[in-house]
Symmetry: C2
């Protein structure tokens, strides 16, 4: 058509995303050619088992089990197999052969992103992976390109739909944690093994990718501080609500300065309080959003579907068209810039406010003793609420909201509270994020 050159596209993997990508390439050929400036030919689809059932009816002759051979003949390789191997070897082979690579493989990128980026840069190929974070939401390209002349200072992401669905049910419908988990599992929001989602591993992989791009610094996934939502109770959610907050599992990447003056990066994942009028508070159900704070741009938010075959395929297709244009125009791909090489600082250097719930002996002097413990650690209380009337055992529940302080000091404060004879137990400790 119109003298467009042909580009051969190899698709590795044909699950729910791959099947949609194949469909879009086959159905929208003319439209894609007009947008890319080249005709995209689906050269083949590598799968483990050609006879497996697919979401989309695709021509049988496209399927092959010989991924390596398919990769060798391709101009652009789309990797949607998931997992580390053989995906990693195939991607490296593709890049070394000069093909561009589009992938949604967040686990691989979190573990070996730098190696892949270096391989791409050596031959001037393009490695892109918009679909790896927050599926359909265009976030990596805006961070890399639209904000290229600005300085990102902080990034708060709701990047795991399953856990957002669970927390949102608890907040909006008053479900217990167990009930919300059960419904999420029934609706397919949770994997058979929900640990990756619930314990925050999935969000940590995405935090790695986001922090690396935002701060031009390699952020290994092992350096991401991580807490999941497994221990979040309905009582915590209700207490948060009464104080005007909502609990969200956040992936956070932030430029911070340590106590000794070192400028660096913090990457962390934990359930945190955010103000109910913060834009992230309106992210319901399984949706994702990334809230970005930049020096010049101020506050931005990118919102949309964080999962789904067609939704994720949309992001893959954007990368595909972009890679095709590069082939048409010539010139090297956009390198994965890691020039800043900032130190990764431990979570102890982070500054936030805390909300601490504790059961205390209801006796004279308890408030003074608690205030003393806070003051000893350089932490000041912004509010103290006796949230539950004293019970039969002569106990009361206190909710303490602190001013912003260093995590290390706050953690030490909680330890000292636990050790105090007035304190029966510390029942909740949540950080408040999204404040100016």
């Amino acid at each position: 058509m119109n003298g467009y050159r042909d580009l051969r596209v190899a698709l590795l993997g044909c699950g729910s995303v791959g099947a949609q990508v194949a469909r879009l390439i086959l159905e929208h050929g003319d439209e894609l050619a007009a947008r890319a400036g080249a005709r995209l030919t689906l050269a083949g689809i590598a799968v483990r088992n050609i006879d497996s059932p697919r979401d989309v009816d695709l021509p049988r002759e496209l399927f092959t089990t010989d991924a390596e051979r398919l990769v060798q003949s391709a101009d652009i390789v789309i990797e949607l197999m998931g997992g580390i191997e053989p995906a990693k070897t195939l991607i490296l082979e593709a890049l070394q052969g000069g093909a561009d690579v589009v992938t949604a493989n967040k686990a691989l990128l979190a573990a070996h992103g730098r190696e892949l980026a270096d391989a791409a840069e050596q031959v001037g190929a393009q490695l892109s992976y918009e679909a790896a974070v927050a599926a359909a939401i265009p976030i990596l390209r805006p961070l890399r390109e639209s904000l290229a002349g600005d300085h990102i200072t902080r990034l708060l992401g709701i990047v795991n739909g399953s856990t957002n669905y669970i927390l949102d049910r608890m907040d909006r419908f008053g479900d217990s944690a167990e009930d919300a988990m059960r419904v999420a599992a029934e609706l397919g929001y949770l994997e058979a093994d929900p640990t990756l989602d619930v314990e925050g591993y999935d969000a940590a992989q995405k935090a790695t990718i986001l922090a690396s791009i935002a701060f031009h610094t390699e952020v290994p996934v092992e350096a991401v501080y991580r807490e999941g939502i497994a221990d979040i109770t309905l009582a915590q959610i209700e207490t948060a609500k009464q104080a005007g907050y909502v609990i969200k599992l956040l992936a956070i990447a932030e430029r911070i300065t340590s106590a000794d003056g070192t400028d660096g990066v913090s990457a962390r994942v934990y359930p945190a309080l955010i103000n109910r009028d913060h834009p992230l508070a309106a992210v319901h159900g399984g949706k994702n959003a990334v809230f970005v704070e930049a020096e010049a741009a101020g506050e931005l938010m990118f919102y949309g579907a964080g999962a789904g075959g067609a939704e994720t395929a949309s992001a893959v297709m954007g990368d595909l068209v972009s890679a095709a244009r590069r082939h048409v125009i010539g010139g090297p791909g956009l390198p994965g810039s890691l020039h800043a090489e900032l130190p990764i600082l431990p979570v102890g250097e982070v500054s936030t406010a805390y909300q601490i719930m504790l059961d205390v002996q209801d006796q004279p002097g308890v408030l003074a003793a608690i205030a003393g413990i806070l003051a000893e650690h350089g932490v000041s209380a912004a509010s103290v609420t006796q949230s539950v009337a004293e019970d039969a055992a002569g106990q009361a529940t206190l909710v303490i909201g602190t001013h912003v302080a260093r995590e290390a000091d706050l953690a030490a404060t909680v330890e000292a509270l636990r050790a105090s004879s007035f304190v029966v137990g510390v029942t909740s400790m949540l950080r408040l994020e999204g404040q100016a």
Copy 2:
């Protein structure tokens, strides 16, 4: 530094945005060089009056009144003068000379966007204008590139911060329209002549740009149907609130099919109802947001500052770095693709639901008569509420929510209601947007 090549950047205009752009170029030289792969040298700043006060202290020797000469020596021209001339002539000269152009000039783009895009394409130069719509929010690049393999079906934008501020005050604080306007003017949200904002002209210019990019079709600003917010009353806002809606001035671009089966594009601006749990309902104050619906990606939203010197400068800087990269890599700029050439359909072909408020004679048969008028025009009522108790004159106020129908039928229905002897007056007619 590091053998980077130098690129000469000419800045035309030094108002609140231009001054911030100059500051960022001068202050972040090394960082920009690392990101762009070239050193960006600010060759000069063309202004009308060198001695005018500026927001930022800039070296006097950079200023010139000879814009034409400055443009001739530049690799990249940033146009922030605003207005049609001399901006248009200078941009055309720059493009014809092979320079890339970055502009935030929405009025110029809305009026002459195609001419500028054609001039850029002829020489392979890049014309970019992320800052022209929703200032700091990366929206044009995601539409063009991230969604390049998807099909956008609808786009709802809160793209005028002044009117959003006014409507938000009325909704959240119960201000009258006059009070909200006064506060907006005091806080600098409104120009001395507020017509451009209040009557929806500014939003219509942005609708033109968004619709053209989303649908690869030239959408002249004259083809954008436009109503402003001048007639919106607190009573309408309160009635909307009671029904679970909020009123927002929306710029809408939509793929629609006309009654005769023609596939085309609708571009329109009017105050519309949206559900209070729609993500756009959480866009408060002077903020902007663009809600995008695409076939594969589903629902996306892009949120952030829609005005401000530094905020707008952030978008300009992103375009600048992108243009610089193109110079380094070589190859032509991304052309402004208008290949689809879809027909622009009149507002009468649009389908929405209506909310109609009318004062009626409180006498037997009135409801039947009104139901008859709706049925005659093929419009069915979803709800009828008597929102105000009958008054001394024997009148009552009805609020009718219709099902989705074609605008032409709804407009005819409203006309027929006005002509009915039972109807004292139609006091409000608002469309409901953002429904599936």
